[in-house]
């Protein structure tokens, strides 16, 4: 990856274009243990694919396959239409897939401009007098962040003095500058307050508008819905399917995320135990009833009375 590389040329998103990434029934086994199975989705240029799921749903296994840390054991991963097994994170990076992890990979005490170029510093001069191109580094950092809409007073301030949201944005801008075509964001809003989350979502939109394909991993449907173009839901290592935005409402998404069926089972169990728990159970049942019935019942376990209604998800155990 050349240090002078400008950002990838913006691509116009067209429906007919070959997806940047296509997952076909991807799965991952550790020996006989199945950590992930049946995941199919696409990532297109200029679009946001959201991966939703609770803790332990298999989100991180999925992104590790995309980022090259793990290899899929089932199914096919197509990059630009070509079946691929990434051998290392470096190989994924070379294919233009950049991952921004939760800890952001920034060094808090170092200035913003040093962080921006860390590991890929441009130099001038030759031999023992080869030195950092400080002027260009500072100017580029300022311009690139400005393009993302981050107006820094001073690129020389330690990155630790920026807010969590701003740091996230610097990490995104860095990935974009170094030629990423696909940006994988691992829970970028998880540790942020409401306002900061909004700031980060705005930068995700900017990256999308610059023609990048974005994979946005989150457990918060309220963050995913406004920005996502399609939603892939994971539960206990299984895909519940990929839904285009036109086919799913925020309420339905929230219902599937909250595991309406599970809440119902819990309510049932608590009701049987009676006593003070019954109060909680009644509240839970009220909540379950408030959920749209079709999604709530779609994944009900067999022992639930509601499962009598058409169960579209037999293996939701």
């Amino acid at each position: 990856m050349s240090t002078e590389a400008p950002a990838a040329a913006p691509q116009t998103p067209t429906a007919s274009a070959v997806p940047l990434i296509e997952a076909r029934d991807i799965g991952k086994r550790y020996g006989s243990v199945r950590a992930l199975g049946g995941v199919s989705t696409v990532v297109k240029a200029g679009e946001v694919t959201c991966v939703l799921g609770d803790n332990g749903a298999g989100k991180s296994t999925f992104i590790k396959i995309l980022a090259g840390s793990h290899q899929q054991s089932d199914g096919e991963l197509l990059i630009d239409g070509t079946p691929t097994h990434f051998s290392s994170p470096r190989a994924a990076l070379d294919a233009g897939i950049a991952t921004v992890y939760q800890d952001l990979a920034v060094v808090p005490l170092m200035p913003v401009w040093r962080n921006f170029f860390l590991g890929s510093e441009p130099t001038t001069g030759a031999g023992p007098f080869r030195k950092l191109d400080v002027k260009q580094m500072k100017a580029t950092t300022f311009t690139e962040l400005d393009n993302m809409g981050i107006r820094l007073r001073d690129v020389d301030q330690p990155i630790g003095t920026l807010s969590g949201g701003e740091r996230q944005c610097v990490a995104i801008a860095r990935a974009v500058y170094f030629g990423a075509r696909v940006l994988i964001l691992d829970e970028p809003t998880a540790a942020l307050g409401v306002k900061q989350s909004g700031v980060v979502l705005r930068y995700i939109a900017r990256a999308r508008d610059r023609g990048l394909g974005v994979v946005f991993i989150t457990h918060n449907p309220h963050h995913a819905y406004p920005i996502g173009d399609r939603f892939m839901l994971l539960q206990r290592g299984e895909s519940l399917g990929t839904f285009p935005k036109s086919e799913i409402s925020l309420e339905e998404l929230t219902g599937m995320m909250a595991g309406g069926a599970e809440l119902e089972t819990l309510a049932h169990e608590l009701a049987r135990s009676g006593g003070s728990a019954a109060e909680v159970a009644r509240e839970l049942r009220a909540e379950v009833d408030a959920l749209p019935t079709d999604t709530a019942s779609a994944q009900s376990p067999a022992e639930s009375p509601a499962a009598a209604a058409a169960s579209a998800e037999p293996d939701a155990r």
């Binding site: 060094v107 808090p108 005490l109 170092m110 130099t123 950092l132 311009t143 400005d146």
Partner: protein, 348 residues
Amino acid sequence: MTTTDLVTVANRRSLDRSRLKRLFTRPEIGALVAAIAVLVFFSVYTGQFFSLPGAGVWLESASTFGIMAVAVALLMIGGEFDLSSGVMTGFTALIVGVLTTHYGLNIWVAVVIALIVALGVGALNGYLVMKTGLPSFIVTLGTFFVLAGIDLALTKVITGQVSIQGMTQVPLYDSIQPVFGSSVEIGGGNFYVSVLWWVAVTVVATWVLLRTRAGNWIFAVGGAQTAARQIGVPVLKTKIGLFMTTAGAGWLVGMISLFRTSTVQANTGVGQEFIYIICAVVGGCLLTGGFGSAIGAALGALIYGMTFQGITFAQWDTNWLRTFLGAMLLGAVFLNHWVRIRAGGGSR
């Protein structure tokens, strides 16, 4: 692009304004103020201190500590300690002494062998620290005691004494002595070549830290090692290089003390590793790594040299030096802690 450029110009004013503020958060500012204070105090208090003969004495004293403090500062910025740095100065000098006086080896060859052995020990320190994941404090405490034992026991076994005698009779001694131990007289003061070495080491270290890729990597591995690794910084190479730099500086100081006094004791350097660390911390290095300066460490050594000789000039009990150093260290740590909180660097 044009709009961006306009924005940049509009922002220039606020950039200038923050420059002054940034000066006061530089790591070496505290050491600079303290050095001036110590200089003024002893200049007023004693007659000889602020004179060329006086300056020759305290500069000479500061120079060898300065060389080591700068190397130790780089290592501390990289997030590690080297407790074997003090004993390394004696170890390398003893290698040269034993090889030349006892085995009759060419003195230039012996000096090069000592350098290679030193770099080897440094690389071993770094490799052990990185491969075991143990704190460098423990690993280098081990090498410290191993080397200290070798210094005493092996020297005694080979030469029958605990110091090297007769260096001046070694052939070609006069050809190498000026490189490390010569001095010039300026206005009645003796100025040793070690002061030049000290300045050179400080300049090179500062340049590497602030203007090279390696410098960027040193700050990164000390500030956030996992993040540095994720982003593609060669962590192992950087850390081993730092341990080798400290060992190399130990060799340089070993040669300077050997050729200045033409003798070396088997316990040379033991206990001085803490003074190097104190100089580096007084110079603004954080104990947790990721922040500091080579110039600051050099200033820390200057404070040490001036205080050491100033107390002698003032005819006080020299034992007060340690009390003073301890107080300086505490003051510096509090100051650094405050800077670090302001810089917002929470986790390591």
